[in-house]
Symmetry: C2
Subunit: 199 residues, 2 copies
């Protein structure tokens, strides 16, 4: 119990510190399993300061999730040159590597999505729309996935699968190499589109 004297940071740094800590703490606990006391102690601040910055526990969680979502989207932007398929593959590879590298942040994002609030789900939904939209945006001429209602649905399903694949693989990679995983992830999209009833 090191009682560090009050340290005064700039609002930006403090906010950043609290968000990063939140991402870490919310990766393996749910929101109501995380007490403000623990969070405050872990950050070396008082309970009150958290409310000064975020207003409520709920709002803090939203800020944490948005933080993680923005980071994910920023770090997986597709390259601007190359042919459509190639750009998509690069982006998907970046996604896989991001999830592997930022496991905790990604898990806290996903946990918030399914388990939480309406507004939390909205944040996740926006993030995933951005990711899914790339498939159609990068593939303007419909070479890989023609833009139909059925394929919109398929891409949603495919991205859910990719998420599950990566998280499961991280959890237990036995018998499957990173290359195998990437082959499954990238190969499955055209494969599924191939069996989807067209218009």
């Amino acid at each position: 119990m090191t009682t560090t004297p009050r340290t005064r940071l700039s609002p930006e740094r403090r906010r950043e510190q609290l968000l990063d800590l939140g991402v870490r703490l919310l990766a393996h606990r749910s929101l109501d399993e995380l007490s403000i006391d623990l969070l405050a102690e872990e950050a070396g601040i008082s309970r009150g300061l958290l409310y000064h910055y975020f207003g409520s526990k709920q709002a803090f969680h939203e800020a944490v999730v948005r933080h993680a979502a923005d980071d994910l989207i920023a770090q997986t932007t597709p390259p601007t040159d190359g042919d459509p398929l190639e750009r998509l593959l690069t982006s998907v590879t970046a996604y896989v590597d991001y999830v592997v590298a930022n496991h905790e942040g990604y898990v806290s994002l996903v946990k918030a999505a399914a388990g939480g609030n309406e507004s939390l789900r909205a944040i996740y939904e926006d993030a995933r729309s951005a990711l899914n939209g790339r498939v159609f945006r990068e593939d303007v001429h419909g070479e890989i996935v023609p833009d139909t209602p059925a394929n919109r649905l398929v891409v949603r399903g495919w991205s859910a699968m990719v998420e599950e694949l990566v998280l499961s693989w991280i959890d237990d990679p036995r018998g499957v190499t990173r290359a195998d995983l990437l082959a499954i992830v990238t190969g499955s999209l055209p494969a599924i589109v191939g069996v989807t009833p067209g218009r």
Copy 2:
């Protein structure tokens, strides 16, 4: 505010009533958004009675989720006759129809899974293992999906996709018929297995 006089039920009936109510209430709220007060009032009982039956709010949630999971598994058991592929298709179709019919129950199961406790996730994990296991169990000779580590992973991913497809389709079925959905769901498994690196 109808103040009904105290009604005395058999423990089985009371338990059943509370679980059914819990499934309904937990479909659209998370656990900490559901107060014991609301639950008790909705059920027409006192707060204390809930603790008599389940011991804690957490334990109540677990019972609700287990209730939903058992129901799902029971109502989608594959038939015992027919060839492997046919039995699987029947089971998957039953799964889709079950989710459509018991939307609330299924949502409260899924929400609990990603958002919740370790033990909640374990319950969901068991349920899904049971479902996924059918693919290999019903397909003993590996006609559809040979039992390899990569394919174990693929089936996990596929079932996550199926879940997302069905829930998204229920949310917005425009432009996709039930037959389309079933075609995507059933066709995608062999398609993905086809692009998966073998052993």
